[in-house]
């Protein structure tokens, strides 16, 4: 029998599951503590966060160790995805109106957006682990939203499993990481377009690693005649075309899953081949509801192969 806790943190919902109910209080304490640290280090919306300080000054010495590692993780994701997942799209996000926590973003305004392409500035970021310093190219604004949450899920799950000695699933806004021994039938996860409004999608069982879903239909807002969302194409600085409503990817860890899911939305029609070459099990749901599965993602039992668009 498992036990769980749900609470709001880092601008999303945290869902914690443990296989040993008596471990839940300690596990929840550990998760809350870690997410508070993550917020202080990596929040784009807190003026006092280490990330905001770096974004304002362009550099920082002896910065928050969590920001340092989160940035290294983001740069590795950028390298692995050849820039499809870019941590230097802060200015692009601001330009399209996502310049405050999503709850405070105006749902609709008549003002049109201006595109600010990425320019691969991530290649020129300097991280010095020895001194704890970070240096950004002039004018660059970091946004670690894509990978920091997934990385936090990974380290939280690992730490809780070790300290509490039980099976753990940490879900941060749809980015899942699993550690320890899963329940006999695995953790049952519904993959869907919006984690807070589960309706359609598919239920799968996962026992280890990470699972992440990126969506073009969650976190949307309108500027002039355009409906915008927060998954940006680094080449244009604008939200990616809606080839896919959402992409779910399973991987050995949540950072890899999140990176691949985001990259899939950016790649559009080329996503399935890109994922297959990496042997990453994935489920892609097209704008019209057609489902494409890749690299061993299980078939959906008893239901039609398409979702209601």
């Amino acid at each position: 029998m498992s036990a769980g806790a749900t609470f709001s943190a880092i601008g999303t919902t945290a869902h914690l599951l443990v296989t040993e109910p008596s471990a839940l209080p300690e596990a929840e304490h550990l998760l809350r503590e870690l997410l508070a640290d993550l917020d202080a280090a990596c929040s784009r919306f807190r003026p006092d966060s280490a990330l905001s300080l770096v974004n304002r000054a362009g550099h920082a010495a002896a910065t928050h160790p969590m920001l340092l590692t989160a940035l290294e993780v983001a740069l590795r994701a950028a390298e692995d995805s050849d820039g499809l997942v870019d941590p230097t799209l802060g200015n692009s996000m601001i330009a399209i109106g996502y310049d405050r926590s999503f709850a405070e973003v105006a749902p609709s305004t008549p003002r049109p957006v201006t595109a600010v392409p990425g320019g691969a500035a991530w290649r020129r970021i300097v991280v010095d682990r020895a001194t704890g310093s970070v240096s950004l190219p002039p004018g660059t604004q970091l946004d670690l939203g894509a990978t920091a949450k997934a990385w936090a899920a990974d380290i939280a799950a690992a730490r809780i499993a070790i300290q509490c000695g039980c099976g753990v699933l940490v879900n941060l806004g749809g980015d899942l990481s699993i550690a320890g021994t899963a329940p006999a039938s695995g953790w049952k996860v519904r993959v869907t377009a919006n984690h807070s409004v589960p309706s359609d999608g598919q239920v799968v069982a996962v026992r280890s690693g990470g699972l992440a879903t990126s969506s073009t239909t969650a976190r949307t807002w309108r500027r002039a005649d355009r409906v915008l969302h927060h998954v940006l194409d680094p080449a244009t600085g604008l939200p990616v075309r809606r080839v896919w409503r959402y992409a779910s990817v399973a991987a050995p860890d949540c950072v890899t899953a999140n990176t691949a899911a985001t990259a899939a939305l950016v790649l559009g029609e080329r996503a399935a081949g890109w994922l297959a070459r990496r042997d990453l099990a994935a489920r892609l749901v097209a704008a019209d509801g057609t489902v494409t599965t890749v690299a061993g993602w299980p078939d959906q039992p008893r239901t039609a192969a398409a979702e209601v668009a």
Binding site: S2, G4, T12, T13, H15, L17, P65, L68, T69, E72, V73, D154, I155, A158, A161, G167, L169, N171, G174, D175, L176, S177, I178, A179, G180, T181, G186, W187, K188, V189, V191, A193, N194, H195, S196, P198, V203, V204, A205, R207, S208, G209, G210, L211, A212, T213, S215, T217, A218, Y246, A251, P252, D253, A281, A295, G296, W297, P298, Q300, P301
Partner: protein
């Protein structure tokens, strides 16, 4: 009737026995040290304390549950399932 060895032959035999004994002792010591070193290398590092360490990018996750046939999961691919979900992965 007991036949006495020539002194030169006796000394040579003693030297051979001494060499063999020395060789066995050296081999035994080397073997013991080798096994010890092997154990030291194979042994897991001491458990870290609970201090927060954000410096590591590796997750060092505990082992996941093996499959029914006792083998470890070859990868982290999901399996088909039905029924109510424990949690949800969706865009956020």
């Amino acid at each position: 009737m007991v036949r006495q060895l020539h002194p030169t032959a006796r000394d040579a035999a003693l030297r051979r026995v001494s060499k063999i004994t020395t060789g066995i002792v050296v081999a035994s010591v080397a073997g013991t040290l080798g096994i010890g070193a092997g154990i030291a290398i194979a042994a897991p590092p001491p458990k870290q304390n609970n201090k927060t360490d954000y410096g590591s990018k590796s997750k060092n996750k505990p082992a996941s549950k093996p499959t029914k046939d006792g083998k470890a999961q070859p990868n982290d691919k999901p399996e088909s399932s039905v029924g109510d979900e424990d949690t949800t992965s969706g865009g956020s």
